[in-house]
């Protein structure tokens, strides 16, 4: 598997750390309530198909990357730096 790092170009998956769903980008307010936090920390859409997740180019440039990926085919159609993603 190869992932295109916006800084470094296409790299082998072994350079990356996988975090999980990109919903991590939208952290609830402290007072959002137990359900909102449960959804943020635990519950997942977990789609069999297109998803958006977070990877860290740990053995590379150190960028956190938002990856649009298909969980069935492993095709990747877009990657962006998390730091520049509008939220």
């Amino acid at each position: 598997m190869r992932i295109t790092c916006p800084n470094c170009g296409e790299r082998d998956r072994r350079e990356f750390y996988y975090q999980g769903d990109a919903l991590a980008l939208t952290r609830p307010a402290p007072d959002a309530g137990p359900h909102a936090w449960d959804d943020y920390l635990h519950n997942r859409d977990n789609p069999a198909g297109d998803t958006q997740d977070l990877w860290f180019h740990e053995a590379g440039c150190g960028a956190w990357i938002v990856v649009n990926r298909n969980t069935v085919t492993h095709a990747i159609d877009d990657t962006r730096l998390a730091a520049t993603v509008k939220r």
């Binding site: 800084n7 470094c8 170009g9 790299r11 082998d12 072994r14 350079e15 180019h57 740990e58 053995a59 590379g60 440039c61 150190g62 960028a63 730096l81 730091a83």
Partner: protein
């Protein structure tokens, strides 16, 4: 009066030659990390240009002149081999002792590196002055092409022995073919 003796990361390990491949340690007196603050990349680059004659290099590129070198080192991060003063523009840390820097050269060096480095180092793709943060074996390293058949690695100082060992074994395997 006490006196502290200096010891380089690859002392006792380098230089060494295996077949056509030679490895040697590169000693840089000063290496600073430079991480421009938000919106300060351009002023930082300008200040560097003033001080050492080189600005920040593009991602994946290393530039040098007689006084200094600037090597892109990751997301919002450069390593500058020179003393610099960038107060308020960038986070600067002293990294002069943090890295084992190794030069490897000789005929077939790309074959040796192909044993360990998971990126495309073909001369057509990874040209002179290109640099990358990647892996060597299980280690995180920086690699820069410094000649047609010469590369420089930067690895964590504590891993110097593994760095040299892994490259030696790869070179031996190539030589044995």
């Amino acid at each position: 009066m006490v006196k502290l003796l200096s010891r380089s990361p690859c002392a006792d390990l380098l230089p060494c030659t295996v077949g056509t491949i030679t490895m040697s340690e590169v000693l840089l007196d000063r290496v600073m990390s430079v991480a421009p603050f938000a919106g300060q990349a351009k002023p930082t680059s300008a200040a560097l240009k003033d001080q050492i004659g080189l600005g920040l290099s593009a991602p994946g590129r290393a530039v040098s002149n007689r006084r200094a070198r600037v090597v892109w080192a990751g997301q919002r991060m450069w390593l500058v081999a020179a003393d610099v003063s960038l107060d308020g523009l960038a986070a600067v840390t002293d990294q002069s002792d943090a890295w084992a820097i190794l030069r490897i050269e000789g005929e077939g060096v790309e074959d040796v590196l192909a044993r360990l480095v998971p990126i495309d180092l073909r001369a057509s793709t990874f040209k002179g002055g290109h640099t990358a943060r990647t892996m060597l074996g299980h280690m995180s390293v920086g690699i820069t092409r410094v000649g047609a058949q010469a590369f420089e690695f930067m690895a964590m100082r504590s891993m110097a022995a593994t760095l040299v060992h892994d490259l030696q074994v790869a070179a031996e395997n190539i030589a044995a073919r």
